[in-house]
Symmetry: C2
Subunit: 414 residues, 2 copies
Amino acid sequence: VINAGKSQHNEDQACCEVVFVERRPSPRGQLPSREGVGELDGVRAGVCVQVGTKGFYFHYWALFDGHAGSGAAVLSSKRLHLHICDQLRDLVDILQDPSPPPICLPHDARASTVEPSQVPLAEDDGEVPNDAVPRFHLEKVVSHESLVIGAIENAFKHMDDQIEQERASQHLSGGCCALAAVYLMGKFYVANAGDSRAIIIRNGEIIPMSREFTPETERQRLQFLAFLRPELLGKEFTHLEFPRRIHPKELGKKMLYRDQSMSGWAYKKIEEDDLKFPLIYGEGKKARVMATIGVTRGLGDHDLRVFSSNIRIKPFLSCFPEVRVYDLTQYEHCPDDVLVLGTDGLWDVTNDKEVADVVMEVLTSYEPNDPCRYTMVAQELVMRSRGVLKERGWRLPNDKLGSGDDISVFVVPL
Amino acid sequence: VINAGKSQHNEDQACCEVVFVERRPSPRGQLPSREGVGELDGVRAGVCVQVGTKGFYFHYWALFDGHAGSGAAVLSSKRLHLHICDQLRDLVDILQDPSPPPICLPHDARASTVEPSQVPLAEDDGEVPNDAVPRFHLEKVVSHESLVIGAIENAFKHMDDQIEQERASQHLSGGCCALAAVYLMGKFYVANAGDSRAIIIRNGEIIPMSREFTPETERQRLQFLAFLRPELLGKEFTHLEFPRRIHPKELGKKMLYRDQSMSGWAYKKIEEDDLKFPLIYGEGKKARVMATIGVTRGLGDHDLRVFSSNIRIKPFLSCFPEVRVYDLTQYEHCPDDVLVLGTDGLWDVTNDKEVADVVMEVLTSYEPNDPCRYTMVAQELVMRSRGVLKERGWRLPNDKLGSGDDISVFVVPL
């Protein structure tokens, strides 16, 4: 739902697809394939498959919670799964082969930028199979799972790059949090960059599948960056955290502070530099990076600047998600076990336990084989979090204020 | 125990003390107290207390696992608790007052470095009580617990500074991991910097009280630093991780890699720069930072350099501990519930479950009120991990090799 009082447009966007990952054609004897963000040839969602084409499917659900406009969220909802597909295309054979992934692949014939001085020696013409490469005494075994994680991580990066490149021509504004669930070869990969959240409810038990990335949870990473690159603070901010603003009159007194190395607090004598505005300021939903943004990961925001200043926020934001893996084959599941994805519009007013209760309550009122039952759960979760319009605004059943935000929920049966 | 085959000297050091924290005398009307590392006047361990002196006690156990010499470990074992005491001295009144700690303290009269331009205005002469300071709309509440955590964190920093300053005159070499448990006002604060470990065993349940800081667990922090400050790598290392060394012949091929933003792996085309040695290399106990050191937090190591090079390791090491808190008042404890602190000499060969089994086994063979029973557990843990000298070296009961390292264990009844 769009919260009516706030905006005409929904800044939450969503996508649900079955995507076929087609092995990238061998480059031998072909023209070099075009590369570059935005050109994702061979990547199609839900298309029919050529007979004999090698590849696999993944299932995909994603939520994009936009801010300062819906442009980044709209583009991401149309493209992120294609970037994931594109990253997986080189892995089609490797992921379907049960032996450990090769550490090194043969020469990429499309790679034409190798300088003459870098051309391998004659006896190694690029056709040598991987196991003919001399072994070193140490070699890490990399799992298939971690290749999928790496593919999703880099897909988020490419999505962010695409937003950067198209933002001028497409008039894209703002940024978005992104939460994506990929079901591939028996495993759920839940990738989160922002403050949306995912939980699994299995046999009544709540299993968190994400954590939120906010100025509070990422304080030390941001302070560390500001400490190493003070020029990013533009002489207006300090990397230290204080429990409140400091008044110039308080110079010379001792005040509680934290730096990038501390999780506890200590007193320091207030100096001139401490009067600057703190990089991280505020608590809970009100915490902000440089008084500007309340999430620290996501896509877009390339033009975001501190109000009436030229200081860029983007260097402090990360487009990389944390990816958690849930192996469906490791557990028995019943029809009431679900994965719930929600934007912060849900979680701000409905906690994990309440969500689990609604799931249980609604699912038991439908037959286990009724395909509507999961949709009804999602609808109920959204409606409860929005509340009912009364004279004093939108109210929850407990008479508290409903969510003031757009609300989006996926309920995925396991 | 000292592992006989390895060294004549024990690089493990330990300390166990009851420390009285005496409130620092008010500076009013006194000479400015001398400041500086190494001068810890008024800080005494286990001394008798003047009548009327205000303060409190803390109990303290710590293990220091030295490397490249025992100097840093010896000095730390003699001084770290005094630094903790020194940090706590300013907090004596605050920690004993149940109301939330003040955000800002009145002027420190000893602080004589305030410039005339910084002198507060006349109406604020430094005697204004904290609550007279104008309030801002946001003010974070800081807990007593987080002040103790901050005190311990800064004590580790001062200890590290002291090693740096005294290393030349005292001929101190090397560094050490530090694991310290502070019992204060009903809570255990377990501070860890390195690869020693602490667990609580309560009613047979294992509760981890630390995590290890190694090149593997801190890979992304180190890669992030190297990415932002490439000059620290001295042109000989790359911040990227590869699963093995790359042969120059492999230029242009694709190899698995991870950067500071990734937890998964992906393929990249090998470039000239990738032939440098990786910042983080090796697995498990063999993982190293710049091929040199296998722990990423601790005290000392100020002179540590990459072998036959001038590249310093210290910028990548952190002296700050992670502090975990266990509130003793929240649980009922029986005489068999203990906190176990051990250096990696213990944990490399004896896992948590085996330690818990030994605790149970030994404690049940003594009367619950026999004070020796905890010492006997510690002794048994050390002896089992060392093993028995046979023709083929020191062997564990399962005939595997015993620990090749010094082994130290504290068993603390809860």
